[in-house]
Amino acid sequence: MKIRLSGVTKKFGPQTVLNAVDFEAEFDHTLALIGPSGGGKSTLLRLLAGLDAPDAGEILVDGDPLPRNEERLRVHRSHTGIVFQAYNLFPHLSALGNVMLPLTEVHGLKASTARDRAMDVLNRFHLVEHAAKQPAQLSGGQRQRVAIARALAVDPAFLLLDEPTSALDPEMTSEVLDVIVELRESGKPIILVTHEMGFARRSADRVAFIAEGGVLECAAAAEFFESPRQPAVRQFLERILKY
């Protein structure tokens, strides 16, 4: 998978979150976006998802520019698997209902086909026994796995995960990271924002460091963590790996 940003700027009111970013990355499986809070990681992910549009510049995914008009952006989103930090499941639907909704309403599958496909994915993540439960009855880790199942069930071109483990305790974190590792092995390209440095180092092909409204450094994971070139990256890693 290949993404390319040229001159991408995104502002929220008076605040410029991404400032004329030029960035290119090619990777087989996983690209990890790391960096300090407020640096623009999640904003970049939302732009790639087509949830927000940049104020200036162009984004290419596998050579195709992201559309500008809302209807085509919607189609782009429907073929992209997006997972949020706070799970964002629909609280009035069961786990199965959550996974089925995009299949029946967006992708036009018949209810029975959608149910089979949803159950397959839930089964893969060991969630079959929880299929009928509502999100409030599930643990954080289970909710996030359902959210990943929902994103994956539509067979997306790639997956975008925005800090998928930040709201979870360590045990649930590993439960969700296991799922992401499995995804990686199944060959779906993944771009994820994460604070789990150990995980980024072991499972990502490439790591991009985003701070101060731009991409400061992007390198293969091992190289990035062993010999960061930018002083800001070195400082960040020293601080974050201190304890």
Binding site: A49, R74, H79, I82, F84, L89, H92, V106
Partner: protein, 242 residues
């Protein structure tokens, strides 16, 4: 069991108290009984008007709530002006102005239908606010999530927002319906022969104030108490974590 017992005991005590105080005023039933048909007709009119206004005000309220969220500014401002005007005026003023002012000016003389429309416009403004608050109580993240899976705007409302809004707003809307039933009594000032009008008429004809107005109160309670009990039941039932 203890609850039921103490409830019955209290009811008995209060009834006895009222009886001691007012029994002198409660002996003219025979004469009032002669007007039972007038009274029941009034009650039927009240129920009919309330039911019609309930349906109409729900429609008005839903459309207004959507209009208030519209990105088309003239529509949004019209909805805001409507809601704020109606909520800022007493219902009596709306009834008088609506009937003697507007309805008379356009030559619309059917009191009952005018009454239903005025009541619906009044109640619709409150229902619009309840629905709007309900829609806004559904978090930003739900919209994000709906957009993320590729739902259109209309689908988002249908599959994600409304089901959650319904559960949120049922208790306050039920409460509003109970208000609507009570507020229909104000239509007596434009001469609609509803329940309050009938009771007042019977009082004038028989000089039996208590015998006319006690049944009046009881008949309103028969309509509103189930609604408020239902509201309480809904309040306990619909809460879920998000």
């Amino acid at each position: 069991m203890a609850k039921v017992l103490s409830g019955l005991l209290l009811l008995f005590a209060y009834s006895a108290l009222c009886w001691l105080a007012f029994s002198q005023s409660l002996k003219n039933w025979d004469q009032v009984w002669g007007y039972r048909v007038t009274f029941l007709n009034g009650w039927a009119t009240t129920i009919g008007i309330s039911a019609a206004a309930l349906v109409l005000s729900t429609i008005v309220g839903s459309l207004t709530a959507l209009a208030r969220r519209s990105s088309f500014l003239p529509l949004r401002y019209t909805a805001v002006a409507y809601v704020e005007t109606v909520r800022g005026l007493p219902l009596v003023v709306l009834v008088l102005f609506g009937f003697y002012g507007i309805a008379n000016a356009v030559g619309w003389n059917d009191r009952i239908s005018v009454g239903i429309v005025i009541l619906s416009l009044f109640s619709g403004a409150y229902i619009a606010e309840i629905i709007r608050a309900g829609i806004e109580s559904v978090g930003r993240s739900q919209w994000d999530s709906a957009r993320a899976i590729g739902l259109t705007n209309a689908q988002t409302y249908r599959f994600v927002i409304f089901p959650q809004v319904m559960r949120q707003i049922l208790p306050p809307v039920a409460g509003q319906f109970s208000s609507l039933i009570k507020d229909s009594s104000l239509l007596y000032i434009i001469g609609i022969p509803e329940l309050t009008f009938a009771a007042n008429q019977i009082n004038s004809a028989t000089y039996s104030t208590f015998e006319s107005f006690v049944p009046l109160g009881v008949c309103y309670l028969i309509l509103t108490l189930p609604v408020s009990l239902w509201t309480k039941y809904l309040e306990t039932k619909v809460r879920y974590e998000t």
